[in-house]
């Protein structure tokens, strides 16, 4: 019997297109259902590419426990085919099937929620427009609907939230996205310019610029068979951890703001400033744009940068420990966080939650540990897990991850100290392996960022696919607010802090 899937143990990886098993749809269906019964398995990527006039579906599962990927594919007979939906059996695939439906018109029969994901400019059904989103509704004299957005009260990205409430209580929340769609994947697929692609990846999700640039850089390095120097790998991990620390502290400020604990807010805002100014000291940009590049770096870490990082981390670490200790011991704050916006472990597994959203529901899922990339495999990193699934858990996880990332950076720097300086500038003209499929995962501060590319016979990228962790996790927010007071929505939302532009691309 021929192989049903390719088992791959490295992240990132590149394999030739020919070697990916092509199953018939029934086989693809059965295999997916069978493998995904294992709760450690989640979908890293499931997307369609038009090849020879019909969509070919690639599915890549990631297993938390055996640290491997499983990759396989199927060919649909034509565009707008009708096939049985996997989401009925495996709920976490709902959003992947919706995306394929939206892009290619494939109908997934029996899909419980076959609704638009982001209204891309080249969607299969042009009659589907933002204004006529098919919202779920419930009839009842006691019920009312509340619509919020797309433009929100604060300075944040646009999205529309539609609540169905019974009095103050939320029965149901539906989130309509797509306002941020800028065709990033299409521009990346069509670009033949190595610099443009890098800079584009800095500018897709600005709050995760390092995570995105790193996903891109290691994908290109994998496609070209380039192994980054150890010192460069360490520098990238440090940049990624600085990004995590900065956002986690900033989110702690935002959580405090939402429960009117202004003291916590202003202290955390000032601490975040210290961290992002350190990133700016290193590379001239507070968000780390331009810091990560394939093949090398324009901002090779030096003694001055290292000393600055160590000094700031020591100071901020101490001060953040003091303020977070205060925040999480105040009854008035705890009353707003504890048992609010709960997601259970089985819900998290069902929806395929990743990153922080998973780790606060007792799911040990962290790409730094399960599919280590760059230098993480050699570090002592272990994921932190909380089990209450509420706003408090998401707050406490942030505080703990700030501490852990700080320690990790110190460890990384001592490893870096022992290495010879040997990094060079970036290489934008790496030649890529032809007729290949490549995939790269990075654990950004929200969770796993997946970049994947397919090349043609000359080694040009013909399809570029991105998956933000928010693509999985928006459903977690929708579930978290059920049976909550609608006034708790802001704090629930902030506790996830999901990305709109990452979803809409």
């Amino acid at each position: 019997m021929s192989e049903l899937y390719r088992k791959i143990s490295s992240n990132p990886f590149t394999i030739s297109l020919d070697s990916i098993p092509v199953l018939d749809y029934a086989g693809f269906f059965d295999q997916t259902v069978l493998m995904m019964k294992d709760e450690a398995e989640h979908c890293a990527a499931l997307y369609a590419v038009e090849m020879n006039g019909a969509p070919r579906l690639f599915c890549c599962l990631a297993n938390d426990n055996d640290h491997c990927f499983r990759l396989y594919s199927t060919e649909l007979p034509r565009e707008r085919s009708t096939v049985p939906s996997l989401s009925k059996e495996i709920p976490q695939l709902h959003v992947f099937e919706r995306e394929i439906h939206e892009n290619y018109g494939v109908v997934f029969e029996g899909h419980p929620w076959l609704k638009p994901v982001r209204y891309p400019h080249d969607r299969a059904d042009r009659t589907s427009v933002m204004d006529n989103y098919p919202f779920y509704s419930i009839e009842g004299e006691e019920l009312h609907e509340v619509g919020v957005g797309p433009v929100h009260a604060g300075v944040i990205e646009p999205g529309h939230f539609r609540f169905i409430c019974n009095g103050e209580k939320v029965l149901h929340l539906e989130i309509q996205l797509g306002y941020q769609h800028r065709a990033a994947e299409k521009l990346l697929s069509e670009s033949r310019n190595g610099i443009s692609r890098c800079v584009m990846c800095d500018n897709i999700v600005g709050d995760t610029a390092v995570g995105y640039a790193l996903s891109y850089a290691q994908l290109i390095e994998s496609l070209s068979g380039t192994l980054p120097a150890t010192s460069l790998q360490i520098e990238r991990c440090i940049a990624l951890e600085l990004e995590r620390i900065a956002v986690h502290i900033g989110d702690t400020a935002a959580l405090c703001a939402d429960v009117a604990y202004q003291f916590g807010q202003v202290v955390c805002e000032a601490l975040r400033t210290e961290i992002i100014n350190t990133t700016q000291f290193w590379c001239g940009n507070r968000f780390g744009k331009g810091l990560v590049r394939p093949g090398g770096s324009n901002y090779i870490m030096n003694r001055k940068v290292v000393d600055k990082i160590l000094q700031v981390l020591e100071d901020v670490g101490k001060r953040f420990a003091a303020i977070s200790g205060r925040i999480y011991s105040l009854p008035s704050v705890l009353a707003r966080f504890e048992d609010i916006g709960c997601v259970t472990r089985s819900q998290a597994l069902d929806i395929g939650a990743v990153g922080m959203a998973a780790r606060t529901c007792d799911v040990r899922r962290d790409i730094r540990w399960s599919h280590p990339f760059q230098y993480y495999g050699e570090s002592s990193f272990e994921p932190l897990v909380f089990d209450t699934g509420d706003v408090l858990a998401r707050g406490l996880l942030r505080a703990e991850e700030v501490r852990e990332s700080t320690e990790l950076i110190i460890e990384l720097i001592s490893a870096w100290n022992n290495l010879p300086a040997g990094n060079s500038g970036p290489d934008y003209n790496l030649s890529l392996s032809p007729d290949s499929f490549a995939l790269s995962l990075v654990e950004g501060w929200r969770g796993e960022i997946c970049h994947s590319a397919i090349t043609d016979k000359s080694g040009n990228i013909i399809h570029y696919k991105i998956k933000d962790p928010s693509f999985h996790n928006w459903m977690a927010l929708a579930i978290a607010v059920r049976q909550q007071e609608i006034s708790d929505f802001p704090v629930c939302n902030k506790s996830f802090n999901l990305s709109y532009c990452g979803n809409d691309l």
Binding site: H181, A184, V199, I204, V266, Q280, G284, F287, R326, G425
Partner: protein
């Protein structure tokens, strides 16, 4: 309470005293300086590598309204192009964002192009509504930071508000995605007259990396008078704040 006081002492004084002259790190990518003796050949090289088409292929001038501040032109041509850390690069006339070779003077904010009513009415209080239209959330975070404990733009009566009805103008970020075009128009219409429009970040000014995207719709920007351009990727809080202070002619 005692614990809070202890934290406060640890915290020290956080606010930036002089928003006009606050130093930023040396590497910060602000106003570029292009050498007067850049050759035609060199111009050709850097203009073709520029990912956002910000460098004119004839004159070699850099348009800060298109520049995404990646600094790749400088890395390619270190002797001829240099990004300084001068963050005061916001202005009210689109042409003023174009930096020609040989120019190494701070950008001049020309107050004459500012509508008189702006200064008259908004000088002591300017309330803004922010619309993110395809922004990548970095500019949005920097605008939030402009009001934080460090930069405290609120000290000049400038604040972001939660409704266009309470606002004196809008600040747009992002290249204006087609899916946000209608919401942007509606928000602007809901702001009472007279009102200002500010573009924050290169994406908003020119589309930035998304200028060629089939999913954007920039008609709103083309059809309206823009009062302030704030370049940057993202626009630094100090760039935004200095632009606002110039717009309102606050010293």
């Amino acid at each position: 309470m005692y614990k809070e006081i202890k934290i406060l002492r640890q915290h020290g004084i956080q606010y930036v005293k002089d928003l006009r002259r606050q130093p930023v790190s040396e590497l910060f990518r602000g106003r570029p300086v292009i050498s007067a003796d850049i050759t035609g050949k060199e111009i050709e090289i850097v203009s073709s590598l520029c990912p956002s088409g910000a460098i004119d292929d004839k004159s070699g001038a850099i348009d800060l309204g298109r520049c995404v501040f990646c600094r790749e032109c400088e890395f390619c041509l270190r002797e001829k192009i240099r990004f300084t850390n001068d963050y005061r690069i916001a202005c009210s006339r689109r042409e003023d964002l174009v930096i020609s070779p040989g120019v190494d003077t701070p950008l001049r904010f020309d107050g004459n192009v500012v509508r008189e009513e702006i200064r008259k009415i908004f000088r002591r209080s300017l309330k803004l509504r922010q619309v993110s239209a395809g922004g990548d959330n970095s500019c949005e975070m920097e605008l939030n930071a402009a009001g934080n404990v460090n930069f405290d733009l609120g000290r000049h009566g400038v604040e972001f508000v939660a409704s266009p009805r309470h606002a004196d103008g809008i600040v747009i970020t992002g290249p204006v995605s087609a899916n946000m075009a209608e919401a942007l128009r509606l928000t602007y219409e809901a702001v009472p007259d007279p009102k200002v429009i500010i573009l924050a970040g290169t994406d908003a000014i020119s589309g930035g990396m998304y200028a060629a995207s089939p999913a954007i719709d920039r008609r709103f920007i083309e059809e309206h008078h823009i009062d302030l351009y704030v370049p940057g990727n993202p626009a630094h809080p100090l760039t935004f704040i200095n632009g606002i202070l110039d717009l309102l002619s606050i010293a």
